[in-house]
Symmetry: C2
Subunit: 461 residues, 2 copies
């Protein structure tokens, strides 16, 4: 049987269009989620290649799924139907404009390489998702990725001045952020409204100085209160990372760093800025608030000591891999004041299901990553999924949201029905239908199920 | 003849629904533009009142135009058809949440009063449109208003965490900024997609120290080069305001401050921050760059001196009113590197049309306000409009945009056909039709004319 994309392969060349089952099979998954093998994979080198691919998919009536480095954790880049995958890894054009403090990056540019190219000009691109050494800017745009620095410096979308986008018909749009902010609408839309092929992003001078503190607390309540007190006192740390007791134990089992196993919470905090006295003064605010809340505080005196303190946080992922081979990594964000109760309720749920569960995250903006650890050979995937759903409901019950920085993708899509009320779901679907009337752009991602009476009208029209 | 809003008046009470011609006549205009007298004016006190008004307008098939303090300069709040005007000035609920660094403000809250209420908690709301003593947050949201501080601190949309919105059917949405960023889409949409009734905005601690500098240049080229050199050297001033030679002359005629009449450009610059040494160091970067470009520099040593230097910039509006009774205030934004040529071309256009024209603006982000001064008793309005259009085209030819901070409204709506290519205009209209299928929300504002083939499909469907 001839592939519907054989003509596209002849048009673009065999190196740009993968049709063999073995090659296509590599494009089923992201960092955690699995989907189905795509019908074809396009590796565009120019926006014209993207246009050709999108038009071929339209002619064949086949879904289109964009993909960067596939380091995502929520399945945004995972095809759920037989699809055309557009993998942007060869679109790596990058230009730094120091005088305008801007970078123009094609979708396949690795996030960290923007800062690497800008640093000789005294500039950096601040958003720092954990995967930023491998993730692409296109994927970051699709998920509106955050990172430890986002409490102080903001998320991906805060740095985007404009994008180039190929729509479902293969038309190319060059969008700024004026009039209707379609750029803002596209950011975080997980490829369901169009494929972003290039972005112009803002660069800023990096902070010249930083200070590092590690603190442990005997309760999550004390830790959360300490964080709130520090923020209320005027501190805006660059990073504020939280690890729960289970997480501390996992890292300590792994590396034996001498972490306090008896602690219920460990905090890592960096302050930064251009004036060393100011950076120190801000850290003193944090330290005073943490001590007043009963925290045990350690300060790094050198960069080497700072790196040693941060090693605990950086070692979380490999430490968890030793406990169970797989994990379901949630990404809720809740009001900071609710953290103690949220952490306690989620811990109790883990115990109820008998599954190892650790919690860590960017506590400054209430972004928590409860990780369910499991072994697919012995644990029931349905139980894991049910536990993940109940964790999502805890976040929503406390006024939180389903995603702090990883996106909704396929993993949490089902939970969106709990998170979005029907009247707003209708507005989402109205926008989706307006920009993707055939529903071929990354289907079954992000959006809650279509409200029933809309589904009727869609079927009958 | 009974008003289609007589029943609404009975429902809400006569004080909330104005039907008499005299009362309605006051709602025809904003700060500059004139429109038609509305059919009725609603003064809602609650979101339920807004819902009732929007539903009454829907039942009667009549357009709805939102309105704040009517201090806008582009006609966004001006009804162009017989409409229902929803004037938000009584919806003034305001709550400060210091521990979350957030304010919840209803649409009618005066912009400056957010900072007034937050300052006792050590917090402010930075966006500072020139009208911020009278403008409302709802109007600022509709136009995504900026101000002098926006170069360093960002515009209205950068501070919005979520909104409450009443859609064209009278349904209430509470929107955050996750999933599809409908909040971001609404901000700057000038009431064409929904009526924002409340916003949750981010507050920040105000800078503790500031320094002020005034500088004059013998050419706009030297001034623009000086600004670019200062920014490239790492300075991010809080404010960077520019006045051209005609503007200097107008202010000097008015107040006799001793400004250099022979100068082609005057700059006012503030640096700010929490560390006085850092604030001074940043100003020294600016001063060095300005001196190297041939600028004559004056530094303020005290707050009184700083206020005296700023008086020149603050007096621009009254100074212009003495020259001609009316003015057309444009609001283009162009790449900073193009400013010298843009200022020269616009000055030449003013001379060609024989109309007094001054230019000033927030030069840090290339936002320029060319003001055409005219007298409707002696000057031809068609000539004024044509000149305004040619100024808009100069901005577009140099890679700029039609609005830096005032919005498009009715004033520049016609020019949008030059600014937005047809394929993106189609995307705008697709979104507009999705969220406002009857086209009753603030018609004939912001959007370029509907592309022809879309118009056909709209008529036939």
């Amino acid at each position: 049987m001839t592939s519907p994309f054989a003509a596209l392969q002849r048009q673009l060349g065999p190196g740009k269009v993968l049709l063999s089952p073995a090659e296509r099979g590599n494009y089923r998954f992201d960092g955690i989620q699995f989907g189905v093998r795509p019908l074809a994979v396009v590796l565009p080198e120019t926006v014209e290649d993207v246009v050709a691919a999108v038009r071929a998919a339209k002619a064949a009536g086949i879904p289109v799924v964009g993909r960067g480095a596939a380091s995502g954790l929520s399945g945004g880049a995972v095809p759920l139907q037989p699809s055309l995958v557009v993998s942007f890894t060869r679109m790596t054009g990058l230009t730094i404009h120091p005088e305008r403090r801007e970078a123009v990056a094609q979708a396949g540019v690795v996030t960290l390489s923007i800062s690497d190219a800008a640093r000789p000009h005294g500039l950096v691109y601040p958003p720092d998702p954990a995967s930023f050494r491998t993730s692409t800017i296109g994927g970051n745009l699709g998920e509106n990725a955050g990172g430890p620095l986002c409490f102080k410096y903001g998320v991906t979308g805060d740095y985007v001045l404009g994008v180039e986008m190929v729509d479902t018909d293969g038309e190319v749009h060059r969008l700024g952020r004026d009039a209707y902010d379609l750029t803002g609408l596209l950011i975080g839309s997980e490829g369901t409204l169009g494929l972003m092929t290039e972005a112009t992003v803002r660069l800023v001078p990096p902070a010249k100085y930083s200070r590092t503190l590690q603190a442990s607390f005997t309760s999550v309540e004390a830790c959360a209160a300490a964080v709130s007190a520090a923020v209320s006192a005027g501190a805006v740390p660059a990073k504020m990372e939280f690890m729960d007791g289970a997480c501390i134990g996992a890292v300590e089992d792994y590396l034996g760093l001498g972490l306090p196993r008896e602690a219920a919470a460990l905090m890592l905090v960096d302050t930064d800025g251009d004036d060393p006295a100011q950076v120190e003064a801000e850290m003193q605010l944090v330290e005073a608030a943490f001590l007043a809340a009963g925290g045990q505080v350690r300060r790094a005196e050198t960069e080497t000591e700072a790196a040693a303190l941060w090693q605990a946080r950086r070692s979380v992922s490999p430490a968890l891999g030793r406990i169970r081979p797989l994990r379901m990594n949630e990404d809720i964000a809740v009001p900071r004041s609710r953290l103690p109760q949220v952490v306690a309720e989620i811990r109790a749920l883990g115990e109820e299901y008998g599954l190892p569960l650790v919690q860590f995250g960017h506590i400054g903006d209430g972004n928590l990553h409860p990780n369910i650890l499991y072994d697919p050979r012995s644990d029931d995937p349905a139980q894991v999924h049910e536990l993940a759903h109940r964790i999502a409901l805890v976040a929503l019950q406390h006024g939180g949201v389903l995603s702090g920085e990883h996106g909704i993708g396929s993993m949490k899509r089902e939970f969106m029905a709990d998170a979005v009320d029907p009247v707003t779901a209708e507005a989402y679907w109205a926008v989706k239908d307006a920009l993707d009337p055939d529903g071929r752009l990354n289907p079954d991602k992000l959006l809650p199920p279509r409200p029933t009476h809309l589904e009727d009208s869609h079927v009958h029209s």
